[in-house]
C-alpha cells in the first residue's frame, strides 16, 4: 500500500524517522523530544509449541487423563484466572517472569489460534504462518509485505533478523539484514590502512551498480549493498551493555541486541527472534526441573523477562510489541515416549507496554468425544477458534497503523481479541 501525504503529515516527525530510518542524530532528536516509535518483535517458537503445557487447563479432567506423565498438576501451575468460557488456566510453573508481566496487564494470550486444514507439517505450517496465506504459502512473508509497503526508499536497517538466515516471515523485496551477532558484523580485508579502505569503498561502489537486467544476481547485490550500508550503525549496537546482563542463551542475547538497536535508535522497526527445541516428540518432561520442556520454558521466560525489564528501564516498553507464534500446537494425548506429536491449533502471545493483557479466546475442552466442537481430528487435536490472520490484523491495523485488509488480502478483523 502507499502511504498518502496526509497520513505522512499526520504521523509527523516520528513517522518520518521510523519509515526512512534517518541518520542516528535525527533519531536522537526525536527521542529527546519524547516522540515514540513503534517496534514490532516477531518471536518464533520453532518446532511446534505444546501450548497445553505452557497455558494449562489444569482442572479439565481429560487434561490429566490424556497426559498421564505430561500434565502439570493443578497444584503446581501458576494460576492466572479463568477465560470467558470459565475455564481455569495456569502457566507452566517455570514462567514466573511471564506471570509477573501478566499480572501487570502487559501480556495477552490468544487461545486456539490456527486455520482450517492444518497440514501438521513443520515446513508447510511455518510457511503458512509466515505468509499468512494458506493458499500461497511460498509467497513473501506477512511482515515482509509490510516492509515492502513502506514508502521508498526503505532503509536497509528497517528490519533486523537476529538469525543467520532470512526467515520466511521477513521475505520481502526489501532486503532485511540478518545480524546474529552485531560484534561480528564487520568488513575484513587482507590488507590494512589505505589499501583496506580502498577495498571497502570499492566493494561499496561495486554493490551500488545493481544489474537490473539479471534479477537473480541483483538479489545478491541487494544483500551485499544492505550489508555494507549498515555496518557502522550496527557497530553502535555491539557496544550495548545493559545492566543487569541478559541470560547467556542465544535467545536472550538476540533480545539484548534488539534492545540495543532500540536504545541506539538506529532506525530499525521490525525485529525477528527465535528460540527452538519445541518439537518434543519424546521425553518432553514438562514437570521435572531441567526437563526438556521445563528448560524451553526457562529460556523463554528468562529472556522475555530480561527484555521486559530492560525496556522498562529504558522507557521503551510502550514502544514495543512482542508477538509470538509457532507452526502448530501438539496432539492432546501424549505418545508412548512421553512426548507429543504434531497437532493443530496453538496459543499466541503478545507482550508490550500498550498490550491489554489477559486471556483472549476460549480454551479447548479436552473431552475425547469425537463430536467435541473445540477439537478436531476425532478429538485428537485442538481446533482453531481464531484465525491467526485475525491476530495479524490487530497488529497491522492497531500497532503498525496500516491497512490489514490490503496486506492480508482480505478482511480478517475480528471482535473480542482486541489485545492492542
Amino acid at each position: 500500500m502507499k502511504v498518502t501525504r496526509r497520513q505522512f503529515v499526520k504521523g509527523g516527525v516520528a513517522a518520518f524517522t521510523v519509515t526512512f530510518a534517518a541518520p542516528e542524530f535525527l533519531s536522537d532528536v526525536v527521542r529527546a523530544q519524547g516522540a515514540h516509535v513503534r517496534n514490532l518483535v516477531v518471536l518464533y517458537l520453532s518446532g511446534g509449541n505444546d501450548s497445553l503445557s505452557m497455558l494449562a487447563p489444569y482442572n479439565d479432567p481429560f487434561y490429566a487423563s490424556r497426559r498421564p506423565t505430561l500434565a502439570i498438576p493443578a497444584g503446581q501451575v501458576l494460576q492466572i484466572g479463568t477465560d470467558s468460557s470459565n475455564v481455569a488456566l495456569g502457566l507452566h510453573p517455570r514462567l514466573t517472569g511471564l506471570k509477573q508481566i501478566f499480572d501487570q496487564g502487559r501480556l495477552a494470550f490468544i487461545q486456539r489460534t490456527g486455520y482450517e486444514n492444518q497440514s501438521r507439517s513443520h515446513f508447510t505450517g511455518t510457511d503458512i504462518w509466515s505468509t499468512g496465506d494458506p493458499g500461497n504459502a511460498q509467497g513473501l512473508g506477512w511482515v515482509g509485505r509490510y516492509l515492502d509497503s513502506l514508502p521508498s526508499p526503505v532503509d536497509p536497517l528497517v528490519g533486523w533478523n537476529t538469525t543467520g538466515n532470512l526467515p520466511h516471515v521477513l521475505q520481502a523485496h526489501t532486503a532485511v539484514p540478518a545480524i546474529a551477532n552485531p560484534a561480528g558484523y564487520a568488513f575484513s580485508s587482507p590488507n590494512s590502512g589505505a589499501e583496506a579502505t580502498a577495498e571497502r569503498s570499492t566493494a561499496v561502489r561495486i554493490a551500488s551498480h545493481v544489474p537490473v537486467d539479471r534479477p537473480e544476481l541483483a538479489f545478491v547485490y541487494g544483500s551485499t549493498q544492505a550489508a555494507l550500508a549498515t555496518l557502522d550503525r550496527v557497530a553502535t549496537v555491539a557496544s550495548y551493555r545493559p545492566s543487569p546482563a541478559y541470560p547467556n542463551t542465544g535467545f536472550s542475547q538476540a533480545l539484548q541486541a534488539v534492545a540495543g538497536a532500540m536504545t541506539r535508535s538506529i532506525g530499525t522497526r521490525v525485529f525477528y527472534v527465535t528460540t527452538g527445541g519445541f518439537d518434543t516428540h519424546a521425553a518432553q518432561n514438562v514437570n521435572a526441573t531441567n526437563g526438556a520442556y521445563y528448560n524451553l520454558m526457562a529460556t523463554l521466560n528468562d529472556g522475555l523477562l530480561a527484555f521486559h525489564n530492560d525496556l522498562t528501564a529504558q522507557g521503551l516498553l510502550d514502544d514495543t510489541l512482542v508477538l509470538s507464534f509457532s507452526e502448530f500446537g501438539r496432539r492432546i494425548t501424549e505418545n508412548g515416549s512421553q512426548g507429543t506429536d504434531h497437532g493443530s491449533a496453538s496459543v499466541m502471545m503478545a507482550m508490550g507496554g500498550k498490550v491489554k493483557g489477559g486471556l483472549y479466546g476460549t480454551a479447548p475442552n479436552l473431552n475425547t468425544d469425537p463430536s467435541n466442537p473445540t477439537l478436531e481430528n476425532s478429538a485428537g487435536d485442538v481446533k482453531y477458534e481464531t484465525d491467526f490472520r485475525s491476530v495479524y490484523a490487530q497488529v497491522l491495523d492497531n500497532w503498525l497503523g496500516t491497512d490489514s485488509t490490503k496486506l492480508l488480502g482480505g478482511n480478517f478483523r475480528k471482535n473480542g481479541i482486541g489485545f492492542i
Partner: protein, 487 residues
C-alpha cells in the same frame, strides 16, 4: 575462456565442487559424455583421499591431540571438507551432500541423547576405523551415493542416528510415535500433500518396534548401538494407506505375526520408493541441486527424470547420468544459474585461489556464519537453499572468508602473477585474476571498479609489496563479489 573448458568447468561446478588445476587438466581433453562417464562411474577411481590428510601439498587440518573423526564432530567436519577439496570422485561427494540434505540429520540431538563422541560416531565413523564396526550415516550415504534409492531409504530407516533424530526408537504398538512415519512420506519420498493424517498414523504403526540394541563390550570400545527389530513392540494389525503400497495397487499391508512384522516396513519402503510421486519429488530436487535455482522447476525435465527413475527401479546412477546429459543441464541459461551453497563456495574458492597453508578448521566458523554447518542442518527438511543463503550477514561472511583466504594466500598470489607475466600493469593483473577465478560474467561496472581499485593509492611499481597487496585485494573483491556466488 575457450568453449570446451567452459563446459567442463560448468560440469565440475555442478557434479563436483569446482575444478582444481589437476582436475581441469584431467577432464579438459574429454568429451562431455566421456567426462560424465568418468564422474558417474567413479568406482574405478581409488578412494584413497583420506590417507592424504596431514600430507604436504594438501590443505591442513587443525586438531589438538589425535585426529579422531569417528568420535569428534569437529574432526569429522574437517575430514569432510578435506574430501570435498581433494577427492578424485567429485560426484560421489556431491551426491553425499545431496543425500545429507535430503535425509537431513543433526548432530546435536544425537549427541544430546547418546553423548558427544557417540554422536560423531553414528554420523561419521567408517566401519574400518571403529572397534564395533559402526558405519556412520554419512559413510552409508557415501557408499550408496549412486546406489538404489530403495536401499538408501531402508538403510536410513535402520540408521542409528535417524532412529534417535526422528525418535523412531521410541515407537511402540502401545503408543505409536509419528515423527519418522510422517517425515518419511513428507520429506524423503512423496512430498507434502500426497498423504493423509490417517496415513501418518498407519506409517507410525508400520515402523513400531524398529528400535536399537547395544551389543559389544565396553572395555574394548566395541559396544555400540545398532538397529534391532523388537517384535513385542510391533503392531501386528493390518495397515491401510490412501495410496498403493504394492505393485498390484494394493493399499493394505496385511496383518502378520509379530515375528515377521519387520516386513511391514520393508513393504512400505518399497512401495514409497516405487511411487511416481517419489520419482517426481526427487526429480524436482535434483533439478534444483544440479540444474538451476532460477525460475520454476522444469516440468519436462521432471517427467523425463522421473520416468528414468521408475524404469530403472530407482537406480541413481542411471538417473544421474541422465541428469548430467540432459539438455536442460547444458542449456546456456543454466550456466551460473545456481546460488552456491556455502560448502560449494568455500571449496571452489580453495580450488581457484589456493589452499596450501590454510586449514579446513579455519573454514568452519565462516561456514557457520554463511548458514551451513555440516552434520547440523537446521531441521529434517535440510537447508533452505537458493536466495535464502544470501542474508546480509551470510553475504558478509562470504566476503570475509574471501578476505581471509586471500590474506593467507597473498605471497603465492603475487608469485603466480609474476610467473604468468601479468605484473606489468594493473590491467594485466586484473585480467589474470578474472580468468583464474572464473566467476559468472562480471558486470562491466565491476571490472571498472576493480581497475580503479588497482590504480588507487599510488603509481604502479609492481614491487613485491604492491603485488601482494593488490593481488590479495582484488582476489578478495572478486571472490567476495555477487557474481562469484553463482555456480
Amino acid at each position: 575462456m575457450a568453449g570446451p573448458d567452459r563446459q567442463i568447468e560448468h560440469l565440475l561446478r555442478r557434479a563436483g565442487f569446482g575444478a582444481r588445476p589437476d582436475e581441469l587438466a584431467a577432464y579438459g581433453p574429454l568429451s562431455i559424455s566421456q567426462a560424465v562417464n568418468a564422474l558417474v562411474d567413479y568406482e574405478s577411481v581409488p578412494d584413497t583421499v583420506d590417507s592424504f590428510i596431514g600430507t604436504p601439498g594438501y590443505i591442513n587440518t587443525t586438531v589438538t591431540g589425535p585426529f579422531v573423526p569417528q568420535g569428534n564432530i569437529n574432526h569429522a567436519r574437517q575430514r569432510w571438507l578435506f574430501r570435498l577439496l581433494h577427492t578424485d570422485r567429485p560426484l560421489q561427494e556431491k551426491m553425499t551432500l545431496f543425500w545429507h540434505n535430503h535425509f537431513a540429520t543433526g548432530y546435536n540431538k544425537v549427541a544430546g541423547a547418546l553423548g558427544a563422541a557417540e554422536g560423531a560416531r553414528y554420523l561419521a565413523a567408517k566401519a574400518s576405523e571403529d572397534p564395533g564396526h559402526v558405519r556412520g550415516q554419512i559413510e552409508m550415504l557415501r557408499d550408496n551415493a549412486l546406489g538404489s534409492f530403495k536401499d538408501i531409504l531402508l538403510a536410513i530407516a535402520k540408521d542409528v542416528a535417524t532412529l534417535v533424530w526422528l525418535d523412531g526408537r521410541t515407537n511402540t504398538k502401545a503408543k505409536p510415535q509419528e515423527n519418522f512415519g510422517r517425515e518419511i512420506m513428507e520429506l524423503f519420498t512423496l512430498g507434502v500433500g500426497n498423504y493423509t493424517e490417517a496415513d501418518v498414523y498407519a506409517a507410525a504403526r508400520v515402523f513400531s518396534g524398529w528400535n536399537l540394541a547395544r551389543p559389544g563390550t565396553a572395555t574394548d570400545g566395541s559396544q555400540h548401538y545398532e538397529f534391532s527389530y523388537i517384535a513385542n513392540n510391533h503392531d501386528v494389525a493390518a495397515k491401510t494407506f490412501s495410496f498403493a503400497v504394492y505393485p498390484d495397487g494394493g493399499k493394505t499391508i496385511p496383518a502378520r505375526a509379530a515375528s515377521a512384522g519387520m516386513q511391514d516396513g520393508i513393504d512400505f519402503i518399497n512401495g514409497l520408493a516405487a511411487h511416481p510421486n517419489t520419482a517426481r519429488y526427487l526429480a524436482a530436487k535434483l533439478y534444483r541441486f544440479f540444474v538451476t535455482d532460477f525460475g520454476a522447476v522444469n516440468v519436462t525435465f521432471v517427467n523425463r527424470i522421473a520416468s528414468v527413475y521408475l524404469q530403472s527401479n530407482g537406480d541413481m546412477k542411471a538417473v544421474m547420468r541422465e541428469v548430467l546429459l540432459s539438455p536442460e543441464f547444458w542449456d546456456e541459461s543454466a550456466y551460473f544459474a545456481r546460488y552456491s551453497w556455502p560448502v560449494e563456495y568455500v571449496t571452489r574458492a580453495f580450488k581457484d585461489v589456493g589452499w596450501t597453508g590454510f586449514s579446513v578448521n579455519d573454514a568452519l566458523t565462516p561456514l557457520s556464519n554463511m548458514g551451513q554447518i555440516l552434520f547440523e542442518p537446521p531441521d529434517v527438511s535440510g537447508w533452505d537453499a537458493g536466495q535464502t543463503w544470501f542474508s546480509t550477514s551470510a553475504m558478509l561472511a562470504r566476503m570475509n572468508f574471501a578476505s581471509s583466504l586471500a590474506s593467507n594466500q597473498k605471497f603465492k598470489l603475487a608469485t603466480a602473477v609474476r610467473a604468468a607475466n601479468a605484473s606489468a600493469t594493473p590491467e594485466a593483473l586484473l585480467s589474470y585474476f578474472v580468468e583464474a577465478l572464473a566467476s559468472a560474467p562480471l558486470d562491466p561496472s565491476v571490472t571498472t571498479e576493480l581497475s580503479n581499485y588497482l590504480h588507487a593509492n599510488g603509481a604502479w611499481t609492481a614491487s613485491d609489496a604492491q603485488l601482494q597487496a593488490k593481488a590479495s585485494g582484488v582476489v578478495h573483491l572478486i571472490a567476495g563479489s555477487p557474481e562469484y556466488q553463482l555456480s
